[in-house]
Symmetry: C2
Subunit: 205 residues, 2 copies
Amino acid sequence: MTEKRAYHTIPPATMLNPTPVVLVSCAEKDHPEIRNMVTVAWAGTVNSEPPMVSISLKKERYSHGLILRSGEFVINLVDAAMCRAVDYCGVRSGRDVDKAKETGLRYEPAEKMRFAPAVAGAPARISCRVSRQIELGSHDLFLAKVEAVQVREGLMDENSAIHLERASMVAYNHGLYQQLGPVLGFFGYAVARDRVIERRMAAYR
Amino acid sequence: MTEKRAYHTIPPATMLNPTPVVLVSCAEKDHPEIRNMVTVAWAGTVNSEPPMVSISLKKERYSHGLILRSGEFVINLVDAAMCRAVDYCGVRSGRDVDKAKETGLRYEPAEKMRFAPAVAGAPARISCRVSRQIELGSHDLFLAKVEAVQVREGLMDENSAIHLERASMVAYNHGLYQQLGPVLGFFGYAVARDRVIERRMAAYR
């Protein structure tokens, strides 16, 4: 790791990778039948107490207005089976097509939301309420509080521990969708005892 | 995708996964020899024009004060070779240990930064200048402008296209570090012609 490596310096760009792949579902205020799902390039957790997330959306996106007016959205996590449909939802606009019809993805009622639906079959679904909108230039940053979380059956064990590694989760890596591969370690493995590492890692082999 | 799946509903939690694994390097204002590297759980891109990122940090973290006073930090992307060292940098504090000494990671001067260093060998390094700090509760959200980007030799081709898939990048998935695996598709593959898909995907097999 300490060998000398050369670098190409390039102008400022969006280079933070990998990023999560998420499908955001939302609806018009007072009109939950007017709904959409949009693949958001940039989404993340920003706070733990209370749990908060952020999503960045261009003003011209169809979902921008829906979320602004309803104050709600659902972040649907994405597995390999959904990947192609999710890519479609990122390149087509809900103004022009009914994405559920085109992709075969299906809406379901979401926990704690008045208008925004969830997407059926997603590994997990995070119901969010907007607390703040910040204009940054090309994108608006929506900060939102997590109101409920749903985890797909089969991804939670008998001790209520969640095992997202059992879903074929997908990350986005500078233009490419890549399925998550081998488990390299767990949080804190760098300071764990050998026998703890051995016991825990055995579950992922 | 349209089959009915059951869900467990759990209280609000930080469930957005996978997340990027990044190592943030920073230094004290006017004292670049007082420096640290910290593994940040939550970092992301938030704007494209101009390119902007966010990182969330607890106030009590040693790096919080360094970044607040210097107004600078560098986001170092992480590959499999760095993963264990990066985990270490997330569980130990720079108040107690010299993380470079303990991990073998090495600091180098960063592009466009007065104080903050970069980490040698990272696949890419993003020099950032803080534009805004937002208090959210447990964490402060730092919004920052990207001032320069460096990409490691071997990850850029003769046409200046960047190939992060050639690095063994790492994502964090609800407690586990997972190396990125098979390429499922490229941005827009859901609407690309078959022969375009075939040609482009051949490069990743």
